[in-house]
Symmetry: C2
Subunit: 223 residues, 2 copies
């Protein structure tokens, strides 16, 4: 990259960081925990959110901001669960940016507890953009292979939590969950690791409890 390109990129990231800080302040002030979900396309982000909606129903109010390049499909899936959802379509851009989240924030109802942001399916670019979240999770589905953390380190380094998804497929795959977790932990030792099959519901309660704990920490001012 030329010096000019690098400078423009640095400017963009600095502007994004400011917008993200403002979002974080506002959401914390409103007692809402924001969670940014990052992964490759098709790792199971939307299916996981559907499963979390079932788990949290009646106990905590969730809302979802969906990021996609095109289509309103994911927001429609979430709304069918009775959960408010906003679709951001970037029309080509490979990641969400804080200012996109900022535009939606005014519409998020006051009574929401957990705001999930489903990023564009991309294991590279979204890792560089803070969206003002309190918790960042990277998903890795079994079919993607246990060698991915080392090949896409930034996503794992920037995350607080790793969610190994589609564990129901493990018997049919050359996938070693222990290797995947170990490789991710070598990059980021503080990662919390969860294993889920959102289709079957396995492991989703533990993950929901993790988000609820983080929400309680935030509300008690210990975030």
């Amino acid at each position: 990259m030329s010096t000019k390109t690098i400078r423009v990129q640095a400017d963009l990231l600095a502007t994004n960081k400011q917008a993200a800080a403002a979002i974080r302040r506002e959401l914390r002030g409103r007692g809402i925990l924001a969670v940014n979900l990052l992964s490759s396309p098709g790792s199971g982000k939307t299916t996981l959110l559907e499963s979390l909606a079932d788990r949290l129903k009646g106990r905590y109010r969730m809302a979802v901001i969906e990021g996609d390049i095109e289509t309103e499909r994911d927001a429609e899936r979430i709304r069918r669960k009775g959960v408010p959802a906003w679709q951001i379509t970037t029309g080509g851009a490979c990641h969400l940016e804080a200012r996109m989240i900022g535009k939606v924030l005014g519409e998020v109802p006051a009574e929401i507890d957990l705001l999930f942001i489903e990023n564009i399916g991309n294991l590279v670019c979204p890792a560089s953009y803070d969206l003002g979240e309190d918790v960042r999770c990277v998903l890795l589905s079994s079919p993607e292979g246990d060698d991915k953390p080392g090949k896409y380190p930034q996503a794992f380094l920037s995350a607080d939590c790793l969610i190994l998804t589609k564990t129901d497929l493990n018997p049919h795959l050359p996938f070693d969950p222990a290797r995947a977790a170990a490789e991710a932990l070598a990059i980021k030792p503080a990662l919390r690791v969860f294993s889920v099959s959102a289709l079957r519901g396995d492991g989703v309660d533990d993950l929901a409890a993790y988000f609820v704990e983080a929400l309680e920490r935030l509300r008690s001012g210990r975030a």
Copy 2:
């Protein structure tokens, strides 16, 4: 995006296009067919190349340029098949660019027939960068879901060929291959569609024949 950002992006793409045109001329002059493989992380690009190496062995000479953000793993896998391979690690960049290919080109032996370029695992950014290839293939693995073409249209629009991979997993998945193909064909009616299980070897002969035909067209000046 600001006007400045858009202008820098346009400059980068114009420079890339020039470099790609030079690579295309050089490779065609040498009678080498270049194939650019695009997909999400973990869609099976490397496993497909291993399977193609087995199929083409003794009949056609192939070589591979591997793109990854970090690690030399994929090039090592290809070399174990007796196929020359060069690893490009971008250190963070989300796609390969023509100038990166240009740097390796001098090392590609004269007797090569097919040069495969495995792009960074990313269904978004690589679609905008011509690498001087004659054939561009986008891979979509069954676990990613049949709704992906509509959500990531540029990768499918820019491709000549769609390879549905990991078909061996179809019995265990909510995946409709006909829907995936129909959605991709609605975006790009001229797409050639193949279905493969590289692990089992299903469908790889048909795909190899497609590349060999394209090579013969190129050598007879009909490319």
